[in-house]
Structures are given as C-alpha cells and as structure tokens.
C-alpha cells in the first residue's frame, strides 16, 4: 500500500484550519461562527489522525475521540446560547450583540 506522506496530511489539516479561521474572522452571523469552530475542531482532529497514522499508534484516534466529545458539548451549549440571544436581541448578528452587560 502506497503511503501518504505526513507533510500532505498535516498540510491539509493546516489548510482546513486556516479556512475555518478566516470564516471566524469574516462572518458576522453567530451560526456561521459556530460552524467555523466546528471546522477548526475537525481540522485539529485530522492532524491527530495523520500523526497516529504516521506512527501507527492508536493515540491519535483516542485524541480525536476526545475532540469529538468536546465538539458535541460545545455545539449543544453554543446553539442554546445562540437561541437565547436571538430571543433577547432579535438578531444573530455579532455586531449588534456587543452590548452584553449582564
């Protein structure tokens, strides 16, 4: 089986991470920001999987499992907070959500 070079896999993870980071920087809707955070978490998980493949160890997949757990908990709380913000401020626009004073 022809092997994938480590550089290619990690470069793919870096490119996906960078795209998610650009998404966080340019979008103004909180739903898209949560989606971009999902992209970031997925890209970092991909980096762990690539490293685990390179060294033929299960630890990479173990770390990916933990990242997935964290992503699930984060997206549940994040979406609940986004719904709450929408009901309070009638918008999901983070430019209009900057006046949070408790």
């Amino acid at each position: 089986m022809a092997s994938i070079p480590l550089e290619a896999g990690l470069l793919l993870a870096a490119v996906l991470f960078i795209i998610g980071l650009i998404g966080i920087l340019i979008r103004r809707n909180i739903l898209f920001i949560l989606l971009s955070i999902e992209i970031l978490l997925n890209a970092s998980g991909l980096a762990f999987i690539v490293a685990g493949y390179h060294w033929n160890q299960p630890d990479g997949q173990v770390m990916f499992f933990f990242i997935l757990t964290m992503a699930a908990a984060e997206v549940a709380i994040g979406l609940a907070l986004a719904l709450l913000m929408f009901h309070h401020f009638k918008t999901l626009n983070i430019d209009h959500l900057t006046r949070m004073r408790g």
Partner: protein, 170 residues
C-alpha cells in the same frame, strides 16, 4: 490510494471554502456535510476506520442535525443574507487571507526545516483504540463523560428559556 487521498483532500478544501463563503445557512450546512464525508474518507485511507465512522455518525449525523434544528427555529430570512453579503466581498476578506497565508507559509517553512520522522505505516483497528481508551486513557474517558454531562445540564437549563424565553405558556 494516493490519488484517492488527494482527490478527497481537494473535495474537503473546496467544500470548506464554500461553507465559509456561502450566504445561505442551509447551503453552508450541506457543504459542511460534504466536507465531513471527504474527511471521513481521508480518515479511512489513513488507517483509522473507527474515527471515520465516528465522523459520519456524530459529526455529520448528530451535530449537523442540531444545526438544522437551530436554523429551523431561528427561521433566518433573506435579510440576513443581505447583511452578510458585504463580508464575503474581496475587500473584506483579502486582509484575513493574507494573514492566514503567512501562517501557512510558516507551517511549510517549519516542515522544510525539520522534516518528518521515520514512518511506521498500517491501519489501527477499533480494537486497539478501545484497548487504549479503557487502559491508559480511562481517566480521560471519565473526564469526557463529565464534560458531556456538563453540556447536557447546560443545554437542559438553557433550552426552556431559548425556546420560550418568558415562560409564556404557564
């Protein structure tokens, strides 16, 4: 196998770019699901079948369904797309892209400087992952379960206020 990897990588990158630049939230979700499927194929190619299944079941299955529910409840109209339109114009994203390209350049530079270690290749099956999870990593698994419990409790407490903020049905 190499060709499959690079094609899946290209699909993942293109779909992720469309997630970031699409104006409609549902279109972005569909592109993200395509990206997740490509990522899952990459995981399978990289000898991680357990992680590939987890991506499809949890990420594409559960988390994306949560997003679909949120979009349905919020009912985002066309005015949101109109507001977002300026942020995906070139003058808005050219500066973040330059900063991001600097980061990619640093990454490539570090790799050229140091290189990769000697590889040991082969698939890591689900059994080995399970043995590792419930052997040396059992404390971390317990912590992950506590994190999920915290997420569950948080969503449970926030949920009623999010759906019905003033308790109007009482």
């Amino acid at each position: 196998m190499n060709v499959t990897f690079y094609m899946a990588a290209g699909v993942a990158v293109i779909a992720t770019v469309f997630v970031v630049i699409s104006l409609n939230a549902v279109h972005a979700l569909l592109f993200f699901i395509v990206s997740l499927l490509a990522t899952s194929l990459i995981f399978y190619i990289l000898g991680a079948p357990f992680a590939a299944m987890l991506v499809i079941i949890i990420n594409a299955g559960a988390i994306m369904v949560l997003f679909v529910f949120a979009i349905m409840i919020l009912n985002l109209g066309p005015h949101v797309a109109e507001y977002e339109r300026p942020s995906v114009q070139p003058r808005m994203w050219v500066f973040p892209v330059i900063l991001a390209l600097i980061l990619v350049g640093e990454f490539v530079y570090v790799f050229i400087q140091h290189g990769a270690g000697a590889p040991t290749k082969g698939a890591v099956e689900a059994k080995e992952v399970g043995v590792a999870l419930f052997g040396p990593y059992v404390l971390a698994v317990e912590m992950a379960s506590m994190l999920l419990l915290a997420g569950l409790l948080g969503a449970y407490h926030l949920g009623p206020y999010a759906i019905n903020p003033r308790g109007e049905t009482e």
